[in-house]
C-alpha cells in the first residue's frame, strides 16, 4: 500500500489539524480551491497576508502558513487597507463570510470597491450567520426560516456581486462549491487581478441553514439546493426577469483595470502625475 501526500499540504498548518469546520461544511472546499490557485500561480504563501474577521469563513486562513489577522468582526478591509497602503508589495487576501462582508462590514466593502483597494476578497456566502447558530444574514433568501426569523425572513437579500460592481470593484465573480472547476477558475483569476476583486462563493451550511431553512441537515441536500438556485451567466442572459426570480447567477460580472488605491492624497510626481 502506498501513501501519496496531498501536494497542497505544504501550505497548511498541520499542527492545527483537525480543523473545526462541521462535517459537510463548504469552507474546506474554499480553502482547498484557494490553495490550488496559490499553487497554480506559484505564489509565495509565506509572504502572503490573509485577513479574516469573525465567523466560520474567518477560520479558513488560520489553517494556512500565511501571516494572518483574525478576530474583529467586519474590519477585514480596514486592516487590509492599512497593510496595502503601508506595504503595497504584500499580497493580501481577505476571507469573509456574508455577515462579516456586507452586514457589519458593509460600509467598508463599498468603500474598498470605490477606492479599488488592491486586495482579493473571497466572500463565502452560506446564507446565514453560521458560527453564532444560524441567524438571518444579508444574503438569506427572503422567507427563509432561521434562528431569528422563525416566521420566515421578512428581509429581502442583497445581490452581493451587483453591489460590488455598482460600488466600483474591478473584478467580480460568483462561484459555488458544487461547481469546483468554476470556483477554482474564479479564485485563480481573482488572485491574478490587480485591484479590488470580489469572488462570492455560494457554500453549504448543512448544520444551520440546511436544518432551519431547508429542513434537512444533509450536506448533499444543501448542495442540491445550491445547484437548484444557480444559473450560469450564459444561460441567465437568455432568461426573463421572471424566470430569474430567486436564482443566483454564477460567472464573471466584471474584469477591468483601474488605478489602485494609494492613499487619500499623495504627491503627484510619485505617481507619474496620475490621480485615480
Amino acid at each position: 500500500m502506498t501513501f501519496q501526500v496531498n501536494p497542497l499540504r505544504k501550505y497548511v498548518r498541520e499542527d492545527r489539524m483537525p480543523h473545526f469546520f462541521c462535517p459537510g461544511c463548504g469552507c474546506g472546499q474554499v480553502l482547498t480551491s484557494f490553495l490550488r490557485g496559490v499553487d497554480a500561480l506559484s505564489l509565495d504563501i509565506n509572504k502572503m497576508t490573509t485577513v479574516a474577521g469573525v465567523g466560520c469563513t474567518a477560520r479558513i486562513p488560520v489553517y494556512m502558513k500565511t501571516d494572518t489577522l483574525h478576530g474583529v468582526h467586519g474590519r477585514t478591509l480596514p486592516w487590509a487597507t492599512g497593510i496595502k497602503l503601508h506595504s503595497p508589495e504584500t499580497k493580501v487576501v481577505v476571507f469573509a463570510g456574508d455577515g462579516d462582508a456586507v452586514s457589519i462590514g458593509g460600509n467598508h466593502f463599498i468603500h474598498a470597491a470605490r477606492r479599488n483597494l488592491d486586495v482579493l476578497m473571497i466572500v463565502v456566502n452560506n446564507f446565514n450567520f453560521a458560527m453564532t447558530g444560524g441567524q438571518v444574514a444579508p444574503m438569506t433568501p427572503a422567507g427563509s426560516v432561521t434562528m431569528t426569523t422563525p416566521y420566515g425572513s421578512g428581509e429581502p437579500p442583497f445581490d452581493l456581486c451587483a453591489l460590488a460592481v455598482a460600488a466600483g470593484a474591478t473584478y467580480v465573480a460568483r462561484a459555488a462549491t458544487p461547481y469546483i472547476p468554476q470556483m477554482d477558475n474564479a479564485i485563480q483569476k481573482g488572485l491574478e487581478h490587480e485591484g479590488f476583486g470580489v469572488v462570492e462563493v455560494l457554500s453549504q451550511c448543512p448544520t444551520h441553514f440546511g436544518r432551519y431553512a431547508l429542513g434537512s441537515g444533509s450536506p448533499a441536500k444543501t448542495l442540491d439546493w445550491i445547484r437548484g438556485v444557480c444559473v450560469s451567466k450564459a444561460k441567465a442572459d437568455t432568461l426573463s426577469p421572471e424566470e430569474l426570480r430567486g436564482k443566483l447567477v454564477t460567472g464573471e460580472f466584471v474584469s477591468v483595470s483601474r488605478p489602485v488605491f494609494k492613499g487619500s492624497t499623495f504627491l503627484k510626481d510619485e505617481n507619474g502625475g496620475r490621480n485615480p
Partner: protein, 408 residues
C-alpha cells in the same frame, strides 16, 4: 509655448530632478520643523508624530480634531508617509492596526464621540500587541465644550483585560512632546497609547519649541533577528515582557488573532494559555508604571495641601497655587503627565505628606475616586470639579478650597 510657460516648465522639470536627487535629504529635513513656532495644539500633535517617525495616518472628520487630519494630509505625503481618510472611525483605527502590523508607525485622531468606535480597534491592538497612537480631543456630547469627561473611558473603554497608557498634555508644547513620547511608549511596549487632548489646548495657539531632530529621542520596536523556524511571535523574556516583532510579509507566517493565543500565536482554548497571555499583557505596562506615569511637582516640598490635576486643568491649579502661596498658604500642585497607568506610588507618597489632597477635574468627578482610593484615608481628600463646558478659573479653585480649614 509662451516664454513664461516654457521657463516655468523647465523650472518645474529642474525641481523634479532636484527633488528626486534630494528626496531623502528633504524628507529628513521636513519631518522635524526645528525652531520656535506660534502653533495650534492640533498642529503640534502632528509635528510631534512626524518627529517620532509617524508614517501612516488615518482619520475621520470630527470637530475639534479636524486640524490633525488636515495638517497630516499635507505633511505626511511630503515626507514619504501615507494619509487615509477612513470611511468611518472603525476604518481609521483598524487601518492603523493593519499598517502597524505591517511595520508602520501609525496614528489616528478623533474626538470623544469618535473614540467610542476606536475602542474596537484598540481592543485588537492590545491583544495582538500592535503599537498604535490615538489623539483623542475630548469634547462634550455633540458639542465642542471643554471637558475631561472621558478620563475613565480612555482607559476602560475597550473590552478585555488591559492596562492602557494615557498621556495628558497641558499645553501646545506638551501636545508636541507627549505625542513624541506616545509613539516611543507604543513602540517600546507594543501597545496602543492615547494622547488625551482637550478642546482647550487643541484649538489654542501658543509658543512651541521644536528641538533639532537629533535631540528628539526616537524609540523603535524590537524587530526579531530570529529565523522563522525559531521565532515565537508572542513569547516574551519574562512574565511582563514584550515579544519581538516580525511584521507581515516577511516569511514569519504569524497569526495575529484577538482570540486568546499561545506563544506560537495559535488560537488556544487552554485556560493556562489565556491566563499567561492576559497576565503578561497588562503587566508589561503596569510593572513599568513608575517609568511611564511621570509626575511634575510644583511647590510640594513644604506643602500641606496638594492640588492634583492632569491636562489643561493643571494650568489654573498652578495659578491658584501662586495666589495661595503669596498669602502664605503652603499649597502645591502635582501634575500627572500620564493619568494611566495610575501613578499609584506617587499618590501614595503624596498622601503621606499632605493634610489635604484635592483633585481638580473638568467633569462630575471621576478620576478623583481613584485618587481617593490611593490616598487610603491617610489624609483628607476633596473634589474640585466643574462640569459646564468651561475650564476652571483660578478664582473658582480658590473659592472651592476656601471652605477647607487646611487652606484657610
Amino acid at each position: 509655448m509662451e516664454k513664461g510657460q516654457r521657463e516655468k516648465g523647465q523650472r518645474e522639470k529642474g525641481q523634479r530632478e532636484k527633488g528626486q536627487r534630494e528626496k531623502g535629504q528633504r524628507e529628513k529635513e521636513n519631518r522635524v520643523l526645528s525652531g520656535v513656532h506660534f502653533m495650534q495644539g492640533n498642529y503640534a500633535a502632528v509635528e510631534g508624530a512626524l518627529a517620532a517617525g509617524c508614517d501612516f495616518f488615518a482619520g475621520y472628520p470630527i470637530t475639534p480634531a479636524n486640524e490633525v487630519s488636515e495638517r497630516m494630509s499635507q505633511r505626511l505625503p511630503a515626507v514619504g508617509g501615507v494619509f487615509l481618510q477612513g470611511e468611518d472611525e472603525l476604518c481609521s483605527i483598524n487601518a492603523v492596526a493593519g499598517a502597524s502590523l505591517a511595520g508602520a508607525k501609525a496614528m489616528t485622531a478623533t474626538a470623544s464621540a469618535g473614540y467610542d468606535y476606536l475602542q474596537e480597534g484598540l481592543e485588537y491592538g492590545v491583544a495582538v500587541e500592535a503599537p498604535m497612537v490615538v489623539v483623542d480631543v475630548q469634547r462634550c456630547r455633540g458639542e465642542n465644550f471643554a471637558t475631561q469627561a472621558d478620563i475613565m473611558q480612555v482607559h476602560w473603554g475597550p473590552a478585555g483585560d488591559h492596562e492602557m497608557i494615557v498621556l495628558a498634555p497641558s499645553s501646545v508644547q506638551e501636545l508636541f512632546d507627549f505625542t513624541v513620547r506616545a509613539f516611543n511608549l507604543a513602540e517600546e511596549y507594543r501597545t496602543p497609547v492615547i494622547v488625551l487632548s482637550e478642546t482647550t489646548i487643541a484649538l489654542m495657539r501658543e509658543r512651541l519649541v521644536i528641538p533639532e531632530a537629533d535631540k528628539i529621542p526616537v524609540v523603535n520596536r524590537k524587530w526579531t533577528t530570529k529565523t522563522p523556524e525559531e521565532y515565537l511571535p508572542f513569547k516574551a523574556d519574562s512574565e511582563w515582557g514584550v515579544p519581538e516583532f516580525s511584521g507581515l510579509g516577511r516569511g514569519y507566517h504569524t497569526i495575529y488573532s484577538i482570540n486568546p493565543h499561545d506563544e506560537k500565536g495559535s488560537i488556544e482554548w487552554d485556560p493556562d494559555a489565556f491566563e499567561r497571555l492576559y497576565t503578561r499583557i497588562p503587566a508589561k505596562v503596569a510593572r513599568n508604571r513608575k517609568k511611564i506615569s511621570t509626575v511634575q511637582r510644583y511647590g510640594l516640598d513644604d506643602a500641606k495641601v496638594a492640588l492634583v490635576a492632569y491636562g489643561s486643568e493643571v494650568r489654573p491649579c498652578i495659578d491658584a497655587m501662586d495666589v495661595l502661596r503669596e498669602g502664605g498658604k503652603k499649597v502645591g500642585v502635582m501634575k500627572l503627565d500620564a493619568p494611566w497607568p495610575f501613578p499609584e506610588e506617587a499618590i501614595e507618597e503624596l498622601s503621606k505628606n499632605m493634610d489635604l489632597v484635592a483633585t481638580v477635574e473638568m467633569n462630575v468627578g471621576k478620576y478623583a475616586g481613584e485618587i481617593e482610593r490611593a490616598c487610603r484615608g491617610r489624609c483628607r481628600t476633596a473634589r474640585v470639579t466643574k462640569n459646564r463646558g468651561l475650564i476652571h478659573s483660578p478664582e473658582e479653585i480658590l473659592e472651592s478650597l476656601s471652605g477647607f480649614e487646611e487652606v484657610r
